[in-house]
Amino acid sequence: MKVSIKWLKELVDLKTPVEELVRLLPLRTIGTKEVTDNFIELDMKGYNRADLLSLRGVALEAAAITNSPTGFKPAVIEQITYDADFPKVNISVEDEKLCPVYCLAKIEGLKVKPTAQEEVKKLEDSGMRTVNNVADVTNLVMLEYGQPMHAFDAEKVRGCVKVRVAKENEKITTLDGKIRDLNKEDLLIGDENEPIGIAGVMGGKDSEISENTTSILLEAAIFDPISLRKSSLRHGLYSEASRRFQHGLTKTNLLQALSTAIKMYEKLGGKLTAITLTGDLKDEVKKVKLSQSKINSLIGVEIPPNEVESSLKKLGFTLEKEGQDWEVTVPYWRMDIDIEEDLIEEVARMYGYEKIPPKELEGEMPQKIDQSFPKFIYDLKKALKEAGLTEVQTYSFYSSKTINDLRLTIYDLIKISNPISSETEYMRDNLWPNLLEVTAINIKQGYKDIAIFEIGKVYILQKGDLPKEQYRLSIALSNGTTNPVEELYRIFQGVNLPHFQGVQLSKSVTLTQKEYFHPTRFQALEDDGQTIGFIAEIHPRFVNKFGTEQRIAALEVKLVL
């Protein structure tokens, strides 16, 4: 969210310099991404503060944290002036769950022109471009109130406006000129004949405001955020409007925004000639209990009751004292506040997180649990280091080169359904192929003697709830000789850990990966009669594919206590 500084100053009578607001925002409210002379960009990624997606919301917050008054009264619902027998726009809403509120106003007598310079600046500081005076009103109002709006060219809309689910195979050309295939999961706005917009995501090209437009249908609505998010993701359309719909909207804001937009159109010479409002237009009033003792115990600081009250009041909450505690009424624009802990966060941030003093941990120690496995893993790493080996880490995936060159059977591997690229499509079920790849890369870099190991998880398909994850040790050695297996075995023998004391070589086993090994240089490693891994020279046929003529030996064992 790019907050225009000039615009913000119109809404708050800032009692501190802007620099102080910029300093306070991350400490009291939200991180900032970029600050220039013209705007402050708030880091809204994944945030739950829908109110901060509007200039008025930011103004209320800025006023609270800088002790300044706002230049407007937030809670007053401005009247939309029309009588009960005022003409209506013909609309129908198919499913109120998907579209709880839908308002459409017809405004006539407009003339499309460029937007006034002052408003162009507001748009630009907010990161938006000007289109024309008629279309810009919708964006200016959205920026100020957080309520997205859309203006259809009224002459291009035939008959009743319907909010409905798309039919299978229905198509629409959106404002960006692209033809979109719709399906039953898309909510759309249509007229008698065809779709004129994907609800809350993007309007249709046919009913776009053109230079000849004189009358419009102005839409202000609330759509179900979940179905809207799905549509938006599926069509790859992220707009300023769809973001706001997803974060959630309030009815009070919607009415204020609609009323303001109508007034702005009237200033442009337009006249409201028909209007229809559907749905329940009152916001639910949330009340949350707040206890003084819980505040003190959760923050770890004694905060006096008058400070609790003044902090919350500055943020627009109203409090009713109930003994040591309060019943707190949440202002309509704070949709993120539901429980007592939410209120305590408000108190804590107004107090200043940075002022909370450290407090040592008390209380009894938990029962001891078995830590022998992590200890064994670290002891093993230490022993391997002592033996002269360098630990590497490789990805949990096989590279496409490894899969192709080793001709791995991909059907046996765990597959990612949405890989970033072919390099993250299949998960490793052994460590040594990645060590082979890394060894070859280092040889090409000029290393003549390479002794590396990795300890990490491999991932194996199995029946049951989750795939099997198994810790493995793998070592790779390329020592410049034509028979590195012998030294590798000596190194492994030298790792003097009780865990490996019973490990024995076995020739007579049919190893599953034999095809990758030198025809005579491989042995199974057994512990207690169970195969736990192998030691082998990797067959030069495969080593050569990785671009080196050096001989490479590898060992791999599973690590289970």
């Binding site: 994944g46 959760l298 909370i356 002269g388 880490q393 970033i420 990490g456 991932y459 012998e486």
Partner: protein, 347 residues
């Protein structure tokens, strides 16, 4: 000209088929495609030809090129396969007392750092817990107060598993954070709980010097009566002073994570400018090093812990980032590259 091409083709195909070593083939390759190679020099005479002849010669020349390249490639495979036959005669004697070279070993810097952190928190009673890296949507998101289609999911671009076992109806994914351990821990152990989780996490992220799809996280799950943000401040100082030095300053600020309330972001004073503001910290004097918060009552409930009796702290730093700052590492990808030139600096 056509004759000349045919002659080159015949001559070299024969030479290739008669060669018996890779070295010989390398020599032949140079004879054909080198600076003064037979094929390289051919086109020089093309300009002298009349146009209709040129039109004929072009395709012939291309076929010649491709055929010879392919012949060499195939012969290389043959020669290699021939040499692989000799491997049968090589032996292996693991009872042989081979010498072991003396080398300087190394524990990977990330693992070394993680070990230091484990030691540090073991001292105050935290114990290690290992959670799966492939987990269900429930443990990674849903039970942590992050419902499907919630805008907060934008924080975690996720890699999903395609071939999940049919026994589970839950979506499988690569865990996006070590927080997938939280519910498991709460369900397995009774408070007081002091647990630490360590290990690999994954995100759907295009990689460059500052972005990785694979990274390590460390996280504390601490549940007891009367835990407060003041304890969280203590843990943050305890960690950062040990890792970045006694004179390190710590700053808490509000941050949103759906599974904590209040949510906390933890800044350490910029180790380069000591708070004055520089390029590394973007002029603000502080660097974000960890995320944390008081465990959300709904998360405690989902884990079977009564939030009226117990409170919890979840706390975790980004490990690679701190290491990069400490050692002036400028490329995140180096950690999992296996690049020995990078690793040797830590010996």
């Amino acid at each position: 000209m056509e004759e000349k091409i045919a002659q080159i083709q015949k001559e070299y195909l024969e030479k290739i088929s008669q060669s018996t070593s890779l070295k010989e083939l390398d020599g032949l390759f140079l004879d054909i495609f080198g600076k003064n190679g037979a094929v390289t020099l051919l086109p020089k005479d093309f300009s002298k030809l009349p146009e209709d002849a040129r039109k004929k010669v072009g395709p012939l020349f291309n076929t010649l090129k491709q055929e010879l390249e392919k012949a060499i490639e195939l012969k290389r495979v043959d020669v290699r396969e021939e040499s692989y036959k000799k491997l049968e005669g090589e032996s292996l004697d693991l009872n042989e007392k081979t010498d072991v070279k003396s080398r300087i070993g190394l524990i990977h810097p990330l693992d070394q750092f993680e070990h230091e952190i484990v030691e540090l928190f073991s001292k105050i009673g935290f114990q290690q817990y290992d959670a799966p890296q492939i987990d269900t949507d429930d443990f990674n998101f849903e039970l942590l107060n992050i419902p499907a289609e919630h805008p907060a999911r934008d924080l975690w671009d996720t890699l999903y598993i395609d071939n999940k076992p049919q026994t589970t109806s839950n979506k499988l994914l690569l865990r996006t954070h070590t927080s997938n351990a939280q519910i498991r821990i709460l369900r397995e152990y009774k408070p007081p709980i002091r647990m630490m989780v360590l290990g690999r996490c994954f995100r759907h992220e295009n990689i460059d010097a500052r972005h990785e799809h694979t990274f390590d996280q460390f996280e504390i799950v601490y549940v007891d009566k009367n835990l407060s943000m003041a304890n969280l401040q203590y843990l943050s100082e305890y960690f950062l002073k040990s890792v970045l030095g006694e004179d390190t300053k710590v700053r808490l600020r509000p941050k949103y994570y759906p599974f904590v309330e209040p949510g906390v972001g933890i800044d350490g004073i910029c180790i380069f400018c000591k708070g004055k503001g520089c390029k590394v910290c973007g002029g603000v004097g502080w660097l974000e090093v960890a995320g944390a918060g008081m465990m959300h009552p709904q998360v405690l409930k989902n884990g079977g812990v009564d939030p009226k009796i117990y409170t919890g702290i979840a706390w975790g730093p980004g490990l690679e980032r701190i290491l990069m700052l400490k050692h002036g590492i400028n490329d995140l990808r180096l950690f999992r590259s296996g690049n020995l030139r990078f690793l040797e600096k830590f010996k």
